[in-house]
């Protein structure tokens, strides 16, 4: 297998983007990515597009709309879907293209336009992330599944609502420093704790955002990477794992087994362990999900995730800085774009270009992206050299 590097990054503004269509959002990210790499679209061999839902944008063949709009035809474009992990699966697919030798330069785009439909409809669509055939008659929604994980974690390990709110405080703090974030404002612990309850124990500020946005990275083979970038970021490990559709068939609700398995594979491939990770972006679709991710990725012992955030060990100057770009919580979660956006943050950190949010001397970074309630998870490890 060939070594593969990220040689270009382009992040669009996340938010309620009523000013831009799915196609325009994509163009914004692709243009920024190509400019960053100093490469023209003509040089790119193929493209992978991550879009999770046709129903948000009310469009069939959204990937064709995208490659048409940026004038990529007749070269290959391959659409990938993996619910909320779509972006990471697109990156993995792009990596496969280059690692196999099929292409030397591959554009990976993640995009989602979620606000074309009202919040209630968007949440209803995501609620089908459970199993509509069996669970829908009981009034299930997506936040409710994570609320069940939170209650199980609280009952088993004594995790508290305050600790979950601390995740929101941290991620909003970093989101307010990230110009691409959807909600660039800080939140106090008290405000997070007193926001209205969505599904107990999760309150408004425990939930991530419904967001429009796009992100793009350019992947290159080793030979091409050296001619394009002085600061290539290498993809050192990739892990992808799956689990049952229904949470009731999972061994436990206090852990996401697919995350643990994806992490195990990625650590093994990269030849590193949790203690080697200098900076990480994890899937904080809800605050409890970040706490569970600390444990599943090995940043702390099982059950100790709440204490890790309480000790501020996941802040920029902590033991393992996590989601110092604002995370899904504050940066926003445009499903298809999220995994690609995570890879962009890690690339910035490893290039030393993260500004006020920079983790000192970051050499090894990790992204963790979960689809649905844990039906799929992708973990990627990146290195500066």
């Amino acid at each position: 297998m060939k070594r593969v590097a990220i040689v270009g990054i382009g992040h669009g503004k996340f938010g309620v983007r009523s000013d831009a269509s799915l196609r325009e959002l994509t163009f914004e990210a692709v243009k920024a990515c190509l400019d960053d790499a100093g490469v023209s679209l003509k040089e790119v061999d193929s493209m992978v597009t991550g879009i999770a839902g046709d129903e948000f944008s009310l469009a069939l063949q959204p990937s064709a709309q995208v490659h048409d709009y940026i004038g990529f035809y007749p070269k290959p474009n391959f659409r990938v879907e993996g619910a909320c992990a779509t972006g990471s699966m697109a990156l993995r697919t792009g990596w496969m293209n280059v690692a196999s030798g099929l292409a030397d330069l591959v554009l990976v785009v993640g995009v989602e336009k979620m606000t074309e439909v009202p919040t209630s409809v968007a949440t209803e669509i995501m609620g089908r992330g459970g199993d509509s055939m069996w669970e829908y008659p009981f009034g299930t929604t997506f936040p409710g599944y994570y609320a069940m994980m939170a209650n199980a974690h609280m009952a088993e390990y004594g995790t508290t609502e305050e600790q979950m709110a601390m995740v929101a405080v941290k991620n909003h703090y970093y989101g307010h420093l990230n110009p691409f974030a959807h909600m660039q404002k800080e939140v106090t612990l008290e405000k997070a704790l007193t926001s209205f309850t969505v599904a107990h124990p999760l309150k408004l500020f425990d939930c991530s955002l419904i967001t429009d946005g796009a992100a793009a990275v350019l992947l290159a083979s080793e030979e091409r990477a050296k001619t394009i970038s002085t600061k290539p970021v290498w993809i050192a490990g990739l892990g992808l794992a799956t689990d049952t559709m229904r949470i009731t068939e999972r061994e436990s609700l206090t852990s996401i087994a697919a995350s643990r398995e994806a992490a195990r594979i990625a650590y093994q491939m990269a030849g590193v362990g949790p203690a080697d990770i200098d900076v990480a972006t994890v899937h904080d679709c809800f605050t409890i999900a970040e706490i569970v991710a600390y444990e599943d990725l090995g940043f702390c012992e099982k059950g100790e995730g709440g204490k890790l955030i309480e000790a501020k060990e996941t802040y920029v100057d902590g033991r393992t800085p996590v989601n110092v770009d604002g995370g899904l919580k504050s940066k926003g979660h445009p499903l298809g774009a999220t995994g690609v956006s995570m890879a962009i943050e890690i690339t910035k950190q490893l290039r030393g270009e993260a500004g006020q949010r920079q983790v000192k001397d970051a050499e090894i970074g990790l992204t963790h992206n979960v689809g649905g309630t844990g039906q799929v998870a992708a973990v990627h490890i990146f290195r500066r050299e």
């Binding site: 209803e124 509509s132 055939m133 069996w134 009034g139 107990h200």
Partner: protein, 136 residues
């Protein structure tokens, strides 16, 4: 009582026997004749050994709350009048867990590990939903 306006079960060859059982106030589960795995939801194949040989067993309808969530926001208009309502992951004594509602107590009183038993909600002429209430 007005017309039932919540989502109804989606019945197909896999789920037909389960919902027919509910109509008769029986919780029916499949037990694989080859490997003995008791499964929910129903399916043609055993997910453990892929055998089609199966028999239906009837659950006693007793179990415990593994975890739960108290919904304060409804995303389907049919549930608005029920707020706050409880969705739970209930583990039955026979093994399978299912997503259901906890009724017959205040939402604040629901706790993980709480013992519960099935209670039937005859929502339409065709469908009865298995819900659970606290028991000793």
């Amino acid at each position: 009582m007005g017309e039932y306006n919540k989502p109804l079960p989606n019945v197909n060859d896999d789920s037909n026997e389960f919902w027919a059982g509910c109509k008769e106030h029986q919780l029916r589960f499949q037990k694989c004749k080859v490997c003995g795995h008791v499964r929910w939801p129903a399916s043609i194949l055993c997910p453990m050994c892929h055998s089609k040989e199966t028999k239906w067993i009837v659950s006693e309808g007793k179990g415990r709350v593994y975890s739960f969530a108290v919904y304060h926001v409804a995303y389907h208009p049919g549930f608005e009048n029920d707020l706050p309502y409880v969705v739970a992951d209930v583990e039955l004594e026979e093994g399978p867990r299912l997503v259901t509602n906890i009724v017959g107590c205040r939402p604040d009183d629901v706790k993980c590990e709480m013992p519960v038993e099935v209670v039937w909600d005859d929502v339409t002429e065709k469908f009865s939903l298995p819900k659970f209430k606290p028991c000793c």
